[in-house]
Amino acid sequence: MYAQLVKSEGTKAREEMTPEEIAFQERIDRGEKIEPKEWMPEGYRKTLVRQIGQHAHSEIVGQLPEGNWITRAPTLERKAILLAKVQDEAGHGLYLYSAAETLGVSRDELMKLLHAGKMKYSSIFNYPTLTWADMGAVGWLVDGAAIMNQVPLQRTSYGPYSRAMIRICKEESFHQRQGYAVMMKLAQGTPAQKRMAQDALNRFWYPSLMMFGPSDKDSVHSAQSMAWKIKINTNDELRQKFVDQTVPQAEYLGLTVPDPDLKWNEEKGGYDFSEPDWSEFFDVIAGNGPCNKDRLGARVKAWEDGAWFRDGLMAHAEKAAARRAQAAE
């Protein structure tokens, strides 16, 4: 899940709602899509800006951990695939910033909030990619977890967000397959490669589980977002689904999920598994993950170093427009 702990405005009881709010909620309940120029409660707009913005930021910060291995990819083909994948993430960022712009907030404004630490991105991208196997683990687990959240969001109530998710999901499922292909190659490779694959699974398992956000009982913002269909499933539902899907994939690779208490529960038709260390999650969210400073620092540097470039293009566009106007006189 690329949006965690998205704060939403408090839930209102029906009797507290204005007639406009009631009509809006009824449209959502009927499964209608809300489009940019239509009336919406301010809380709905704000919550969506937070969620879509956080999602967009996750895509662009998410370029960094994988970008870290592009220049070290082991073959020309792997290099090309990884580059194409990271390029897709930048594309996802573009769709999502565009979706946010339909809500009246510009990409530059959102970037400034990110750079000032006032908006978050997914906790997962604050973990380092230490070996080539991490390219497999990120594709398989991180994109896998993202898909788990994003597939239902294709049905989200806000039209532009829903349409962005449909495009993104198509590409993400390709990403997950390429990650799994990297893992498969390693798992079937030399003993050192297999060890590398296991090590990556060990490091990325719990951070991937954290991507769905805290347990439902501690998740304070869910109710209103679910009523508005900005959020479709609860954190725990999605996490369970992810574990149930991923464990057999790990077994197929011959790798061991790093959870001694993992076992199939026939009664619930799913796995019982250990919770991640939530204190670690809150540390990472608070800015104390292994890479928070580096990731945000890299984005801020790219933005600041690029200011002259963006200014130059703007100045040229103004000059060109002035010349055209003069020529037309």
Binding site: A84, A90, W308, H316
Partner: protein, 284 residues
């Protein structure tokens, strides 16, 4: 440090003679065909330039000044890596030693690389990266036009495909050079600085040697010097519109196409080849 034993020149010559007698060249092994060797070299020269520049461009991924640039640079790098696979794949075939494109990219040391020096220049600021790309694209475009008319259909085919991609690279880099050259005072200054700094690496693109002469004589590849006029015309057109001054000096660094590189290449290869070197023989 122990000193080396004294050896006189006649002693060395005698040793060499004895060695030659003890291990005579196997009579059935054919001497390498000089034409094939020159062709192999030509393919490395174009393939290695694509590989090394593709590597440099890919270093920007996630760090460029705007999302659109991240996407565009990734496209350029992807094209160059794709071209590398074709050129080095054919080089391996021509060499006939069973080496693949990956073997050539990941298992040669710096002195066996044949890329132009300009490709290995560090990225610098975004203006340096764009100017390097423009100077290279303008040459690459001419080179591929020449190769598309090659008497060897294998080269002509690759060049025709790559030429379409590079026409777009040149369009994009020219456009940005114009906008930034004729943008703000600062963008103009940075682009001029980049042009001045990279200028001494441009001349190498047009310096031929006897291998180039062989290829040109057989109609396989264009004579490097013949590409200069087209390149000059592109530069004059674009740089004038960009309000940038073409530097006056004609000094040129050279050696990349003969395997004598800048210090930069070793670091590029250390990074690029790390996994192949650390896990020999593994499959990825």
């Amino acid at each position: 440090m122990p000193s080396l034993p004294d050896m006189t020149t006649p002693q060395v010559a005698e040793l060499a003679r004895q060695q030659a007698q003890a291990h005579p060249a196997h009579p059935t092994v054919p001497q390498p065909d000089e034409g094939q060797e020159a062709l192999f070299e030509t393919l490395l020269r174009i393939g290695d330039s694509a590989l090394v520049l593709g590597h440099r461009v890919s270093e920007w991924c996630g760090h460029s000044p705007a999302l659109e640039e991240d996407i565009a640079l990734a496209n350029v790098a992807l094209d160059l890596i794709g071209q590398t696979q074709l050129w080095l794949g054919l080089a391996g075939e021509v060499e006939g030693q069973g080496r693949t494109a990956d073997d050539l990219a990941y298992l040669r040391d710096a002195w066996d690389f044949r890329n132009l020096l300009i490709c290995e220049r560090p990225n610098g600021d975004f203006g340096h990266t764009l100017m390097r790309q423009f100077l290279f694209d303008a040459w690459h475009h001419e080179m591929l036009k020449g190769l598309a008319a090659s008497s060897d259909p294998r080269l002509a085919e690759i060049a025709a495909k790559a030429g379409k991609e590079v026409a777009y690279h040149l369009e994009r880099s020219s456009d940005l050079v114009v906008r930034l050259g004729d943008g703000t005072g600062e963008s103009h200054r940075r682009m001029q600085q980049a042009l001045d700094a990279l200028w001494p690496y441009a001349g190498e693109m047009f310096l031929g040697d006897d291998k180039d002469a062989q290829m040109a004589a057989r109609g396989i590849a264009p004579d490097p010097a013949s590409l200069r006029a087209g390149w000059d015309a592109t530069l004059r057109h674009v740089l004038t519109e960009a309000t940038l001054q073409i530097p006056e000096g004609d000094f040129s660094h050279k050696g990349g196409r003969q395997g004598i590189h800048t210090e930069q290449l070793g670091y590029i290869l250390a990074e690029m080849q790390f996994l192949q070197r650390a896990y020999p023989g593994a499959s990825w």
